[in-house]
């Protein structure tokens, strides 16, 4: 047999190369989008409606549509997600029901995004008769990001030391009072981090909004939650596959805005997590 030290060196270089095979293209993708998209970004692009069959003008309605959808999704998912996390971390016992809940969360996280689209369409658009609207789209996205928020909030709640609760109880506080004034304030950064990651996910997903809200071309802004709206990811899909002869600059510009929106969310989440780790003293 050959020298094991040499084999190790060769194997480790291969492992290093494999890692580069993932990380380097990621860097390239971001770089390409930034370099080719930047020339398209100007005030008009950000604040004007699409013109000439989406071959000119801006993407303002799509940006606004995505912001509305994300706000709607988080308004639904945040309270429900936090309460669900409180149940799992503070109330649930180690029994069959809890096991099933955890399994359900894992499954909810694994359901293909287009299946969420089908579900949202049949429940919100058809059954509840909300039509293709911001309401339907937000609720669909909200259910989709629920597992992200539950998992992150639960981790945050469970990382609050048990002794904090014991002190609060010994002072005569009830279980809910303890949760509200001791556990939640200490877990808030973790919960915010999870919510921001959820927002990033909701902003970038296309398949769930295809049939529940997204409008192909809608030059005015939505006026109520029962209106259809344009959305950034769907708009990018449309101008890169459905509309011929769109200037490449506009496609890259749209991709850049979407990418920046999502990456900013992630960056904020990372910063909060980092600061939290530094500040934590227990």
């Amino acid at each position: 047999m050959k020298n094991p030290k040499r084999i190790e060196k060769i194997v480790f270089s291969f492992l290093f190369l494999s890692t580069c095979l993932i990380v380097v293209p990621v860097g390239f993708i971001v770089l390409i989008v930034v370099i080719k998209g930047l020339p398209a970004i100007n005030w008009q692009f950000l604040t004007d409606v699409p013109r000439e069959g989406m071959r000119a003008g801006g993407i303002f309605p799509a940006i606004i549509g995505t912001i509305y959808l994300v706000i709607g999704a988080i308004l639904f998912a945040l309270p429900v997600g936090i309460f669900a996390a409180i149940y799992l971390s503070e109330y649930s016992k180690d029994n069959f029901l809890t096991r099933i809940i955890k399994l359900a969360i894992v499954n909810l996280a694994g359901v293909p995004s287009v299946v969420y689209g089908l579900f949202g369409f049949s429940l919100f658009v058809i059954f509840f008769k909300f039509g293709a609207s911001i309401l339907s789209g937000s609720l669909t996205l909200g259910i989709m990001i629920l597992p992200i928020i539950i998992t992150a909030s639960r981790e945050a709640l469970e990382s609050v030391p048990y002794s904090f609760r014991e002190v609060s109880w010994s002072l005569g506080a009830s279980k809910w009072q303890t949760i509200r004034s001791v556990v939640l304030p200490n877990a808030i950064s973790g919960i915010i981090t999870g919510s921001i990651l959820g927002i990033g996910r909701a902003a970038g997903e296309t398949a769930p909004i295809l049939f529940t809200v997204a409008a192909f071309y809608l030059p005015q802004l939505p006026r109520s939650i029962f209106d259809q709206a344009m959305a950034l990811p769907y708009h990018l899909y449309v101008i890169s596959t459905q509309v011929p002869n769109v200037e490449e600059k506009i496609r890259y510009g749209t991709a850049l805005i979407l990418l920046m929106l999502v990456l900013c969310m992630n960056l904020i989440a990372i910063i909060i997590r980092y600061r939290l780790r530094k500040r934590k003293t227990w």
């Binding site: 890692t19 359900a104 694994g110 995004s113 089908l118 539950i150």
Partner: protein, 291 residues
């Protein structure tokens, strides 16, 4: 008064606690409600094993075999590429890379997970597809191969992060024991750490498969969307997910085609359910073994 308030709040907390179960059941119920209507007119076997998907011909032919094979082909290709590279990277990140570089690599992989699939699809369409077209001298670069490469890339964050967790959670004493016997670092990884974390790595692979099968937008933009039974990686295919996304907008509500798209949704839901439950069991077995 405070007792009542507390009682109500605890009930709300309980309801939100079990709401995930409710949503999973609700999703399945609504898929069944629409999808099962199909089998009143078309036998189940014709649907799953039918070789033709011509939803707008008269009468419509709704066999999803080409779509199933399309999904399987693309997924198979993606897994062949992503599992070796993903597990190798997980080993490098968990075991070998020094602290500073480790953080950078992990951030890079998190970055990849955050990029929306429609952006990746767009980039794949205008970079990857033309390359494949010229390299293999094809009429179009939008092929199963392009889809496989793109999906392999998209499955990486899932595979790497879960496999890395599995490797990381192998008790330190195992490693120290191997070192004490004179094994090199690689021998230790290969003979001790990998076997000890095998069920976690298997779970990582399964969840990677789940991610690939469920992916919609990038696949729709890059695989060429032709619903025929595929014979090679170098021809356009269409997957289950892409079919729903592409056709749902044009179908008439209540038509056979409409019901068929929901029936495809049922198939996807069941696949993802089986994958997630199996992966969850694998991950839990690991924890039980340890304690």
């Amino acid at each position: 008064m405070r007792k009542i308030k507390e009682f109500i709040i605890e009930k709300i907390i309980f309801i939100c606690g079990v709401i995930s179960i409710f949503f999973v059941v609700l999703i399945f119920f609504f898929l069944l409600k629409e999808g099962l209507s199909l089998f009143k007119t078309i036998p189940f076997s014709h649907f799953v094993f039918g070789k033709n998907w011509y939803p707008i011909s008269e009468p419509p032919q709704l066999g999803i075999l080409p779509l199933i094979l399309g999904s399987i082909l693309v997924t198979f290709g993606a897994i062949i590429i992503s599992v070796p590279i993903g597990v190798a990277s997980a080993i490098y990140i968990a075991e070998i890379s020094p602290g500073r570089i480790k953080e950078i690599l992990k951030a890079g992989i998190e970055l990849l997970a955050a990029i929306p699939s429609v952006v990746l699809g767009f980039i794949g369409m205008i970079t990857l597809a033309p390359w494949i077209k010229t390299i293999f001298n094809l009429p179009t670069g939008l092929t199963a191969l392009a889809g496989s490469i793109m999906l392999a890339f998209m499955a990486m964050p899932t595979i790497v992060s879960i496999a890395e967790d599995a490797l990381y959670s192998v008790p330190k004493s195992y490693k120290e024991g191997a070192f004490a016997l004179g094994a090199t670092h690689w021998q230790t990884i290969y003979k001790v750490i990998l076997p000890a974390s095998s069920s976690g790595i298997l779970a990582a692979v399964m969840l990677g498969i789940g991610r690939v099968i469920g992916e919609t937008m990038a696949v729709m933009m890059i695989t060429g969307n032709s619903a025929v039974i595929p014979h090679s990686f170098l021809q356009p295919v269409r997957t289950l997910t892409a079919t729903i996304a592409a056709e749902m907008g044009e179908t008439v509500i209540g038509s056979e085609h409409y019901f068929a798209l929901f029936a495809i949704g049922i198939v996807l839901f069941i696949i993802s359910f089986v994958i997630n439950v199996t992966a969850d069991l694998l991950l839990h077995r690991r924890i039980y073994e340890k304690s």
